[in-house]
């Protein structure tokens, strides 16, 4: 990947300068150093380490703004009174910008002057990539995403093998490259590799809803490592592939899977990244399922007896406003559903988003950050945990295992599929077979 292999301090500083616009300047000039963002960040609350204060994570970029774009800063620079950003400093900052930030957005929610601190950290990552200070794990994932189409190296034959498996299990055909389908379903590599039940659930649900859907052989991957590592060029290229696939097939809606940042990348950043409006709608799978529920297109039977709670993926609730949909769906099948404290838009992150889980250097702090979630779950005394992001799911399973908490974790889409009215699905399968 040329962008990372040609990285230098000069390029990094230039990239940071290019990120500084009027909004960024307004943010930097209005910070009152109140420290409220620190108490909103689980890396700070769980470690007590003040360097994890979110606004501190963008300090090198703030100094560049001050030195280049403010009168006082320029004077200080002329007089040799300012401290230049160095390569060593950016190297040191790598752990703050990547290891201890999931881009969860909680700090932005509490800032009393409205600074989008997460947005600034996302910008800071652009400079880190350009200066060669991105983590190895994310560099590898980004290279595979660009070269192979999947950050985890999933090639089309592997997907086809998983499709065959899903078809055998469900008795349903998994449509691929179906021209004119209403929905194009994206998958994350994590689902293809670790959670093949997701694809089976989609097949069952869409069969019952009687909706035409398809996978796209040229654009099946939802994950966008460009967003995680902080490279708009890579992010745009990955979004372009999805756009090209969707336009080629003429679909009306592209469905982002149970993956938090994939949804943010495509729905909220996508059109800006590629510089044009999409010709199709983008929805998270839970939004689609809730629409199906509202239209009476999916019917369920039976309920989950277990006391369960829902972990809100940050990118869904804070960036996307998908708060009510999972609860509407759970209301169909989970009479013993209970809420965590600080659920919904102020939910605490699992600790692994924003590329943290792909970054082995972050493993220690990632598990420490899980302490917040551990306490939330313990306080509720639930038997089952439900979520809607494969990455959250992995972190929840890891964290629960480390703390010897035997609580199964399940994806909401799969749980809904498990409760579909069997007679409806069977009838539809028989119709398809005939």
């Amino acid at each position: 990947m040329s962008e990372t292999s040609q990285a230098t301090l000069e390029r990094g500083v230039q990239a940071l300068k290019e990120q500084i616009d009027s909004t960024t300047a307004a943010f930097f000039s209005s910070c009152t150093h109140c420290g409220m963002c620190a108490d909103a960040c689980l890396f700070h609350t769980e470690t007590g380490c003040p360097t994890y204060t979110p606004i501190h994570k963008v300090e090198p970029m703030r100094r560049i703004w001050e030195q280049e774009y403010t009168l006082v800063g320029r004077l200080k620079k002329l007089l040799g009174l300012s401290k230049k950003v160095t390569d060593k400093e950016l190297e040191k900052w790598q752990s703050l910008v990547y290891n201890s930030c999931t881009l969860c957005g909680r700090c932005s929610m509490v800032c009393p002057v409205g600074i989008d601190i997460t947005g600034l950290i996302r910008k800071m990552r652009e400079g880190m990539v350009a200066s060669g200070h991105a983590p190895e794990g994310l560099i590898g994932a980004s290279e595979r995403a660009v070269e192979i189409g999947s950050p985890m190296g999933v090639r089309l034959p592997a997907l086809q093998a998983q499709i065959k498996h899903a078809e055998q299990d469900t008795g349903l055909a998994i449509p691929v490259d179906e021209q004119g389908a209403e929905y194009m379903v994206l998958l994350s590599s994590m689902e293809i590799i670790n959670y093949p039940e997701y694809l089976q659930a989609i097949a069952k649900i869409f069969k019952q809803a009687d909706k035409r859907w398809t996978l796209c052989s040229e654009a099946f991957e939802a994950t966008n490592t460009g967003i995680q590592i902080g490279s708009s060029d890579i992010a745009a290229e990955l979004v372009e592939r999805v756009v090209a696939g969707a336009e080629k097939l003429g679909v009306k809606t592209v469905i982002s899977p149970e993956c938090g940042h994939a949804y943010t990348a495509l729905r909220w950043e996508g059109p800006n990244l590629v510089g044009r409006e999409f010709t199709f709608k983008v929805q998270h799978i839970l939004e689609v399922l809730d629409e199906f529920r509202g239209q009476g297109l999916i019917k369920t039977e039976g309920v989950e007896e277990a006391k369960l709670t829902f972990h809100d993926p940050c990118q869904l609730v804070r960036r996307g406003g998908v708060v009510e949909q999972p609860r509407n769906l759970l209301n169909m099948i989970a009479p013993n559903f209970v809420e965590m404290d600080d659920h919904g838009t102020m939910n605490w992150c699992c600790g692994a988003g924003g590329g943290v889980s792909a970054n082995e250097e972050a493993d220690k702090v990632r598990i420490k950050a899980f302490d917040r979630k551990k306490h939330q779950i313990k306080d509720l005394g639930v038997d089952t945990l439900v979520t809607a992001c494969a990455n959250c799911r992995i972190q929840l399973e890891d964290g629960l295992e480390i703390h010897d908490m035997d609580i199964p974790v399940q994806g909401l889409t799969e749980m809904i599929a498990d409760h579909l009215l069997v007679s409806n699905v069977s009838k539809n399968i028989e119709e398809q077979a005939s």
Binding site: G137, G140, A158, Q162, Q168, S357, N359, D406
Partner: protein, 156 residues
Amino acid sequence: MIKELTRVSNDTEFREALKKLTAEQIREVGALFVDNVMSLNNDKRVTRAVETAHDSNASENELTEVFKSVKKAMIESRTRCGADCDWDDQSVHFVARAATAVVAPEGQCKAKDPMWQVVQSCRMARNCALIAVDDDSENPEAESQYQIFNEFLEAT
């Protein structure tokens, strides 16, 4: 009751037949399914869990102990987010997942139907092994499972 069951030759019959087994029979036949993919396994915790599942005299404590151990093996063997997937390693994960479902206490298996989780995980293990060698032939695991089940019925 087991004598009332007929031979199976497809998944519909297979699912129905599995539902008629007792808890002990489920554990026994589940362990046989995992045996069939054990050549893909390289984790002693998985081996031990399957051996315990085969032991009709295994105590609840022993089962709980091997469940915790094999669950850990299952979680440790998953492909981590963003990592380059090694499909051979991933097949090891699915063998561990199958073994975990075999010995899971009630409510501890995330699947609605734990026995079907065993069946599916064994098939996934084989699937991953086929992907690893770029073999796009049919996954033979389902047919093997029907045969194992039919032999189990005859022997019981």
